[in-house]
């Protein structure tokens, strides 16, 4: 369990990083937190001759919540993102999912952007990027481009990144007024990859940005006592699809008051079970994973419907929807 011989480069600037990437395109790998790559190297499942360590690069550790966007630099650890109060206000699903990413010690080292670049279908954050409609900014010596999650993810552990490209940041849109989001998964052990995981974003007509979040309120009631009506639902999955595919379920849920969610749970679970394509392995059969995904989705849907309004939109001013992730290539 010792890696093959390799050379470690430790650039200080993005430009230098991009030069190194260009020079070692065929046999180089970027390393940041190393939580996925180091085991791969030690087991000699990969043997790159050059490792480009970006942990000393200036300008990659930014974490900002501005307008409708959470911008996560390539060096931001899972843990920092998980614990950031502004992120929690803007879109609580990030923190909720991050708490399922391995263990605190690993989250302290591992980076969210690294996880997205690794594109493991068992990983939570590639899916959260897709579910929230996020994107990544990518740089190389040739220029900069922006890729949506859909454009980035090609297959299991496979992205559309060119060998000489670096993801400099990931951008997660904030929740919009009226939206509620949640994530849950079942793992064998705390911190393991989920046997199945589900993220949901529910839209409702209760767009009152001042709505308070108070668990003591009766289930389903808005701040003003008005019952919200569901206007949309989308779902993303962990460990049961090859890539972070998102299903839109608006046609099943639209028009249902949140206190009548029981009437649509079965239809939602059923649509999800038809959509996903789980594999069986030594931990669970494909049938069980499919069943489990439906159960988790149903429970999550009920939980969101009981949740009082949105946590996300209240902390941000309304206004224009984030524009970054809609940009096309500017290479």
């Amino acid at each position: 369990m010792k890696p093959s011989p390799l050379r470690i480069h430790r650039p200080k600037t993005i430009e230098n990083t991009l030069e190194l990437l260009a020079a070692h395109a065929s046999d180089g790998k970027i390393i940041a937190g190393g939580q996925s790559l180091v085991p791969v190297l030690n087991m000699r499942l990969a043997a790159p001759e050059n490792l480009i360590d970006i942990t000393a690069v200036d300008g990659l550790d930014g974490l900002t919540v501005e307008g409708q966007e959470i911008t996560v630099g390539a060096l931001v650890s899972h843990r920092r993102l998980e614990r950031d109060p502004d992120v929690a206000s803007a879109n609580p699903i990030l923190g909720e999912a991050l708490r399922h990413v391995a263990h605190p010690a690993i989250r302290n080292r591992g980076t969210t952007v690294g996880s997205i670049a690794h594109a493991d279908p068992n990983g939570e954050m590639p899916m959260i990027l897709a579910l929230t409609g996020g994107c990544v900014k990518v740089r190389s010596l040739k220029g900069t481009r922006t890729l949506t999650a859909d454009e980035l993810n090609v297959g299991p552990l496979e992205t559309s990144l060119e060998p000489e490209e670096l993801i400099t940041e990931a951008i997660f849109p904030a929740l919009q007024p009226g939206q509620r989001a949640g994530f849950d998964e079942l793992a064998r052990r705390s911190g393991d990859y989920g046997l199945a995981g589900v993220g949901l974003i529910m839209s409702t007509d209760n767009t009152d940005a001042a709505a308070s979040v108070d668990a003591a309120d009766p289930p389903g009631s808005g701040a003003a006592g008005k019952i919200a009506t569901i206007t949309g639902l989308k779902a993303g999955f962990v460990s049961v699809t090859d890539t972070p595919d998102i299903i839109e379920l608006d046609h099943i849920v639209s028009g249902t008051p949140v206190d009548r969610v029981d009437t649509i749970v079965d239809a939602v679970a059923s649509a999800i079970k038809d959509f996903i394509d789980p594999d069986g392995d030594i931990h669970a059969t494909a049938d069980y994973r499919r069943h489990l995904t439906g159960v988790i989705a149903g429970r999550l849907l009920k939980r969101l419907s009981r949740q009082n309004s949105t946590r996300g939109a209240s902390a941000l001013s309304g206004g224009q929807r984030a524009a970054t992730c809609k940009e096309k290539e500017s290479r």
């Binding site: 046997l195 669970a284 069980y288």
Partner: protein, 814 residues
């Protein structure tokens, strides 16, 4: 009077050093020495056609590349068959390096020695081996069929076959009013210590001696084996065991192929060679445990009294059996547990497969036995509609000693020497709230939740012989040095042995310093395994300390002209009872005990030849005596002492996801008088943790090609602290008549009944029988589906109530 140390909950004295990172484990030693790496078979069953090492030799920094033909003399022979037993019909062991045939994925073939481990692995990757593939035999079923064989020349795969019978089983079954027939399965797991194996061999060219450090459970055993295989005098070999990061059984086998190959290389190269096992190596080339297929036929009366028990099991021993048949033998002798069963027959077949070999893992076959018995007792209760504890009460042994009629692993007849099972069960029922559980179940059901209560009882033969020893020396400073030959790998030996010595010698515990596992000081020892450390070395040290004390009192008696019978030692001061003015510290006695010519310090002056009056009639050291306040003594028991315990668990199973959560876990334990109750509880907690692993998480997933699919901690689900329930304990202390301290072993206790206890609880929650462990949510969900489809019948006593009918609820799931 000094506080008696025995029985005190004093904190582990070794912990400040270990938890502050100051432990010295094998890989911390001999930095800068050359390193070994091994090329291992990637195939489960193959002939080796050709080995091409050319590519490795060219790698800069490579020092040597060895195949089987480089092994000298007896080191090239098959590894020893350590524990012969009459049941073994076809003994097979492997080689240090496989010459022409491999029998499991992971078997070592080539050793590369290089400047460091990185280079050694680079070179190992360049070695090319051609194989002629053979079909592998994987699992009990395929091995039992015997259509193909693991070892050429055999007609089947049976390594060992054994039958023991007490009473007349057939007659007992014939006259029983009720009978049941159960098929059971138990999966593979493994010890998985935090630190894997490892060895450092240093050859001293000046005196042609070998010093070996090994992460082993038996330094004396390894020393003898290496001396024999390297064909060098025993006196030129020493084995030292440094801090060991856990063992749990896997480090008792010896010599491991790597220990022998590395020692040979150290001698050939005249240097120090180190090999530290990595985790993947540990998974595929150390040892596993547990896989058995079992059948139980039981006859019983209307009160659930067992009249006759007929047990057959098929034990997967992997590719080789260097450690003999200890695991299946222990299974066969522990089935009867705490029950009085007049007619008992056990028959086992120990079978070869093309997988990693099986040697003892904490519990060493006993968990399998308890699984058979306790699943059977629960089935009897269900058949008769009786409370499960009542069936147990009706079968308990109530008179001690209770001869079991079967021959144990130590060659002696098994005998329950002490215990009080009725009281233990009362304590357990009170602890878990057995009689109030139906109310809990009703309340949970009303909330749409499923809960179940389970129980498991066991006995464990502990403290097997042949012997252990102690060596105690009192320095002239008053420091008490204590050695025992057995090894330490997480046990609290430095604490509990010091407690025993402090009491027996009458000194403050702070002056007592314990060292273990070093053949330079005490070359006579067996090793640490089978819950024997405290029983064997504890009693040996108790006897040794008494001997030292007697010598000290004799010396003081002569000096003070008092009868030693009138003297006592309190806090390291010897005085005449009732006359504190006539006193002498033990440090001074140590000085007096060693007549000196040279005064190297002030205290030594008192022992020099002109310090006292000349007594021309007697020499300084009288005939039959030795200088120094230093003694050695050994303890050898008649037979193993049998500890016992009972576990109960409350589990919750999610009605939809089939996720299994242990809500409570209770243990009542009887290992006799406890030297240190805190240490006993720590042992029980750790044991339960490993038991939970075996019950719900761990299995070795071999595919049909004999590839281990989960050879990493990512996919082999050893539970984390987050998966282990709080363990509630209560104790009973019935002393054993078999040793001076009256103690029984505790090391393996927590692990033995855990799988069956959790199976019992899941069965109770689900309403259908659980006959195979481990159990994961996916498998439980499949079982539910089969139950609903009528393929798995429900428990009889539940009737219609047992179906999965609870409405799904979101309560309690957030």
């Amino acid at each position: 009077m000094t506080t008696r140390m025995f029985g005190q909950k004093i904190k582990r004295r070794e912990d400040p050093r270990l938890v502050t990172g100051n432990g010295r484990y094998l890989d911390d030693l001999a930095n800068g020495s050359v390193a070994a790496a091994f090329v291992r078979s990637p195939h489960a069953h193959a002939d080796i056609v050709d080995i091409d090492v050319t590519g490795a030799i060219d790698v800069e920094g490579v020092i040597a590349v060895w195949t089987h033909e480089d092994l000298p003399g007896q080191a090239a022979d098959r590894l020893p068959m350590l524990i012969p037993h009459p049941s073994i019909v076809a003994p097979h062991t492997g080689f240090a390096l496989a010459p022409d045939h491999v029998n499991f994925v992971g078997e070592p073939i080539v050793m590369v020695i290089a400047r460091d481990r990185y280079i050694a692995e680079d070179a190992a990757g360049r070695i090319e081996i051609d194989y002629e593939f053979l079909d592998p035999i994987v699992g009990v079923e395929q091995s039992r069929e015997g259509q193909r064989v693991v070892h050429a020349g055999m007609d089947d795969n049976v390594a060992a076959h054994y039958v023991q019978e007490v009473g007349d089983v057939d007659a007992g079954l014939d006259r029983a009013p009720h009978t049941l027939d159960l098929d059971l399965e138990f999966e593979r797991s493994a010890c998985m210590p935090m630190e894997g194996k490892g060895v450092i061999a240093a050859w001293n060219r000046e005196d042609e001696s070998l010093q070996v450090h090994s992460s082993t459970q038996t330094s004396t055993g390894l020393r003898a084996a290496l001396a024999a295989r390297l064909e060098i005098p025993l006196t030129r070999v020493e084995v030292i065991t440094p801090d060991v990061g856990g063992a749990f059984g896997v480090k008792i086998n010896h010599p491991w192929p790597e220990e022998l190959a590395v020692a040979c290389a150290a001698r050939a190269l005249g240097t120090t060679v180190k090999w530290t096992e990595d985790r993947r190596e540990h998974f595929i080339s150390s040892a596993h445990e547990r896989a058995q297929t079992q059948n139980v036929k039981v006859g019983f009366d209307d009160d659930g009294r067992i009249l006759s028990l007929d047990v057959k099991f098929w034990h997967d021993n992997g590719a080789y059996i260097p450690y003999g048949v200890i695991v299946p033998l222990n299974t066969s002798t522990h089935v009867m547990g705490p029950y009085n069963i007049a007619n008992y027959r056990v028959e086992y077949w120990s079978l070869y497969t093309n997988t990693v070999m099986v040697t003892p893992y904490r519990g060493a076959g006993r968990a399998h036995a308890v699984f058979m018995m306790e699943r059977t007792v629960d089935a009897i209760a269900d058949e008769l509609g009786m409370d499960r504890t009542q069936v147990r009460l009706n079968n308990f042994v109530r008179e001690f000693p209770h001869p079991m009629g079967v021959t144990m692993q130590d060659g002696a007849e098994g005998c329950l020497d002490s215990g009080d099972f009725v009281t233990s069960l009362d304590k357990l029922k009170a602890l878990v709230g057995w009689d109030e559980f139906e109310a809990c179940r009703d309340q949970a059901r009303a909330e749409g939740r499923k809960v179940g209560l389970g129980i498991g009882c066991y006995v464990e033969s502990t403290g097997a012989g042949p012997y252990e020893g102690g060596h105690i020396e009192v320095e002239s400073s008053g420091r008490v040095n204590v050695w025992t030959g057995l090894t330490t790998h997480g046990q609290a030996h430095a604490t509990v042995f010091a407690q025993i010595v402090a009491d027996a010698l009458g000194v403050p515990i702070d002056t007592v310093h314990v060292a273990t596992g070093d053949t330079r000081k005490l070359p006579y020892s067996v090793g640490t395994w089978g819950s024997r450390g405290a029983v064997m070395a504890g009693n040996a040290l108790h006897l040794t300390a008494q001997k030292v004390k007697a010598k000290a009192l004799k010396i003081v008696g002569e000096s003070l002209e008092a009868d030693p019978e009138d003297l006592e030692i309190v806090d390291g001061i010897i005085s005449v009872k009732g006359d504190p003015s006539a006193a002498m510290p033990l440090a001074a006695v140590s000085v007096l005990s060693n007549p000196l010519r040279y005064a190297f310090d002030e205290s030594a002056k008192a022992a020099t030849q002109f310090a006292k009056e000349s007594t021309a009639e007697e020499p300084s050291v009288k005939p039959g005596e030795q200088p120094g306040l230093e003694e050695q003594e050994f303890f050898s028991p008649l037979r193993s002492t049998v500890a016992n315990g009972m576990h109960a668990a409350i589990v919750e199973t999610d009605p939809e996801t089939a996720d299994i959560t242990i809500r409570r876990y209770c243990v009542v334990h009887d290992c006799g008088p406890m030297i240190n109750p805190m240490v006993v509880e720590g042992q029980v907690h750790g044991g339960v943790a490993q038991g939970v692993g075996g019950a719900l998480y761990e299995r070795m997933a071999y595919d049909t090609d004999g590839q281990l699919l989960n050879a990493s901690f990512m996919d082999f689900l050893m539970p984390f602290a987050s998966e282990i329930p709080h363990v509630e304990t209560d104790h009973l202390e019935t002393p054993s008549p078999l040793n001076p301290l009256g103690i029984k072993g505790a090391g393996e206790a927590g692990t033995i009944p855990t799988a069956t206890t959790i199976a019992s609880a899941i069965e109770d929650a689900e309403g259908f029988p659980i006959r195979a462990m481990p159990l994961d949510p996916s498998t439980l969900w499949e079982l539910r589906n089969k139950h609903e489809a009528g393929e798995v019948p429900g428990l009889k006593s539940r009737g219609l109530d047992s179906a999965v009918s609870a409405p799904p609820s979101i309560a309690g799931h957030q």
